[in-house]
Amino acid sequence: MKKFTSLYSFIMIVSIWWLLALMDTRNIIPTPIMTFSYLEIHLTTILLHLFFSLWRISLAIISTLILGSTIGILSARIGTVDKVVTPLLYALYPIPKIAFLPLLMLFFGLGNLSKILLVGLILFFQIAIAVRDSVKNIPEGYFMSLRIYKATPWQRYRHIILPALLPQLFTAIRVSVGTSISVLFFAENYATTHGIGYYIMDSWLKLNYTAMFSGIVAISLMGTLIFAFIDYLESHFCRWLP
């Protein structure tokens, strides 16, 4: 059933796209067939660019997962940490992180690190806040049940906190991955010759709209891939969810 829904959405998108391409009298929008055949011919190039973007985004997700969850858990469990961290989170969260890109570039160079940090900054706040809230919402009864059996602090994390925060963590990742791909696209326009963002912008500047569209298709496929992977992880680690 799930396969059919994705097929259905694919058909929908392609047919609307096709319609727009036919209506476009200035021949800016390439037809899906043109795009897909271009994609097929230049597959290795596009895959290479995609690989760079995927690598940057994975690194950003993994590092913020570790950092954001740690901050979130500490803030939920330790009152003094909460008093220091929460005002900071609230003050910094609304700032458009893209405004930090020039600063990040100045401090961390023009290379990969500043790009990964930018994506990480976006993910960090959503993950930290989601984790903090989900840990705060764990009913006291769970801890009571463990305390009566003399659980160690580590066992508290292992048997309550970690499993309890996972569902909201997955939601937070899903919500923020979309934003971070868009921002990565922006960051990849500077000081790099690799990455799907670079590829799309480069094709645009060369007025090669077919290449640009294959880049867009590729970025969408990358997103789908990441979401599918997150879904897979969730179904594996949260088998208990109804």
Binding site: P139, G141, Y142, M144, S145, L146, R147, I148, Y149, K150, A151, Q155, H159, I160, P163, A164, L166, C238, R239, W240, P242
Partner: protein
């Protein structure tokens, strides 16, 4: 199980900030007897349970004496079952042994026996969300029973169950108690439950004081629910409770 173990409190008080939750509690619980605690809601029954399980939060202030031999060997069944939704029925039951790293073949056999006793064999690999309320409470009871503790505390364990399931589980608890007696304390707001499961019944008033203690003769009767002693006890308790709430 040590038959000389017990709990004594003398003029025991608990405060949360300025709130006086338990008021001059003097009671003695002897080994392997079944006790029931009843009183209007908000009278500190649950706080007493936590005190008996040595689990009072650090924010609670106490005065008076409490001597508790059971601190190291207590099991508790909570009103909301205390099950972990992310653990299967089996892992929920085995949790105390997993925590203590005691999953030996002999103990695993105990787990299987407990699961069979509580008729949970068909659902061992399911998650709690797929169980009925009665099954969830069976899991919680199985877990508490598995640790073979000296003291079993139950905090309104059946209050969220329908009447039929509640009676079945009350019967099961009583059968287990008779099979392997241990000190049992049940906190309840149901008169019938207190009389059915309490050999001795403590009545609380809204200020957190024990105002009366009843010795319940109907406890050891077969088919106690049909016995006139049971009805008499319920009647006495109901009158006393009414008096307290006045």
């Amino acid at each position: 199980m040590n038959h000389n173990q017990s709990i004594y409190t003398s003029n025991f008080n608990v405060y949360y900030g300025k709130k006086h939750v338990l008021n001059d509690i003097s009671l003695s619980l002897s080994a392997n007897k079944a006790y029931a605690i009843i009183g209007p809601s908000g009278c500190g029954k649950t706080t007493l349970l936590y005190a008996l399980s040595c689990l009072l939060p650090s924010s609670a202030r106490t005065s008076g004496g409490i001597q508790n031999d059971f601190c190291q060997s207590t099991a508790i069944v909570l009103q909301d079952f205390g099950l972990f939704p992310w653990k299967t029925v089996y892992d929920n039951i085995a949790l105390p042994l997993i925590l203590k790293k005691q999953m030996t073949p002999a103990r695993k056999k105990d787990i299987t026996e407990i699961i069979e006793w509580f008729k949970l064999s068909d659902v061992v690999s399911q998650f709690p969300s797929t169980l009925s309320g009665g099954q969830k409470q069976r899991v919680a009871l199985a877990r508490a029973w598995l640790v073979s503790s000296d003291l079993l505390l139950m905090d309104e364990p059946f209050s969220s169950l329908d009447a039929i399931t509640r009676e079945i589980l009350q019967d099961e608890v009583k059968r287990l108690y008779h099979k392997s007696p241990r000190t049992t304390v049940i906190v309840t707001h149901s008169i019938e439950e207190a009389v059915y499961l309490g050999q001795e019944i403590f009545l609380f008033d809204p200020t957190g004081q024990i105002v009366d203690t009843f010795t319940n003769d109907s406890f050891n009767l077969e088919e106690a629910r049909d016995a006139s002693a049971y009805y008499d006890m319920c009647h006495r308790l109901r009158n006393a409770l009414r008096e307290v709430q006045r």
